[in-house]
Subunit: 204 residues, 2 copies
DNA sequence: GTATTTTTATACTGTGCAGTATATTATATT
DNA sequence: AATATAATATACTGCACAGTATAAAAATAC
């Protein structure tokens, strides 16, 4: 209990015995598997390997911890979305987005499904601010895709009669449906076949 | 408190002061809006207008009540699925299935989304039997659609290279994605545009 | 070495939960 | 009318939960 991992000198007092990013990752796994309200503080502290007061000192409260875990999720498992949208063609971007979603949602090393879908639905009325946060984050991902498709249309990468807003909503709807299926036990093989069919809606 | 609505003679003792189907419908609304674990017994008894012991006497326990509410859901809001599959062509059946799902999920008179999707995700590990029940019920709906598409293929109503299992999974995935979107506030107008695109995957 | 500051360990608090015990009320039977 | 039976109303039980108070431990500052 005297590790003091590369902390800047000048910080007085007893040093933290844990690495914030590491325990955040453990917390993310718990929230991902159980949802916001389904994850109890005993679940969280048990998986994180820290005590309750340590958690509160480092993250504020359960909601603060969840928001930090959400950021961690966006920067880690969900980072493929940013990369996907950089593909040169809209078609390639969407294909990579869908297949990336499959890979993430059915990855055997992480809980099945999607934290944002699971979290938003598995969330009573008491945690309304959490639900709003998740809704707005999901809306932001849809908006990113929509902007990418608007750009594609301007570039002639999509036919003139294509509707970027409708297409974006359709594809994120498929992604969220796959999250439900993955949470129910669907395999990545099955979901890839869903992707293949979903892409047949592509405007040619 | 002495209504005694058409109960068969010979039932001794104080008669029920409530109608079972009616309070079941109230319970369904609560579960639909809040999920299985999110619905407390105070929520339920409050909406149903009956006392706690009456609930336990009539439905066993919370899980028993939920299962009865699920049956009520299948017989009511979800009954359109049986009708949809009776359409003469597979294409018409799927179209009616998707549009019926939109109507149900975005009906302003009922909670948004789908009880089975919401219930399965908003369900901690404590209620594992509930989750399994919902998973198997959802699988049953997918199987119904698959059988309808297998029949269509045998009748020449689908091309020989069409894959009924893949198509069924794809369309139920879209339906579940729409349930997530509806729970997040999507309108029926928006969801109908999703349906229009989803149907472009239809094998011609 | 002593004081100061921050983290940690343990144990607690109040609240909401599902389920139940007890007593009362309303009906049918006799 | 008296009795048996089933449903209701009220209040309770034990438990899990998020959050916290208190004191001990581990580091820096002087």
């Amino acid at each position: 209990m005297s590790v003091n991992k590369g902390r800047p000198a000048g910080r007085r007092g007893r040093p933290r015995a844990f690495d914030v990013e590491e325990v955040l990752d453990r917390a993310l796994q718990v929230f991902w598997r159980k949802g916001y309200e389904g994850a109890s503080l005993d679940d969280l502290t048990g998986a994180m390997g820290i005590s309750r007061p340590s958690l509160y000192a480092a993250f504020g409260d359960k909601e603060g911890l969840f928001r930090k875990a959400l950021d961690h999720y966006a920067d880690g498992p969900l980072s493929f979305t940013r990369e996907a949208l950089k593909e040169p063609t809209a078609r390639a971007a969407v294909e990579r987005l869908l297949l990336g979603a499959v890979k993430m949602q059915a990855d055997p090393d992480t809980p099945p499904g999607c934290l944002m879908v699971h979290g938003a639905l598995a969330c009573g009325e008491g945690a309304d601010s959490i639900r709003q946060e998740l809704n707005s984050r999901r809306a932001a991902y849809e908006a990113d895709l929509r902007r990418r498709l608007v750009r594609a249309k301007a570039e002639g990468d999509l036919p003139p009669d294509a509707n970027p807003a409708d297409l974006a909503r359709y594809f994120v709807t498929v992604v969220r449906g796959m999250a439900v299926e993955a949470a129910g036990g669907a395999s990545s093989h099955q979901l890839r076949r869903v992707v293949r069919l979903a892409l047949r809606a592509w405007p040619e």
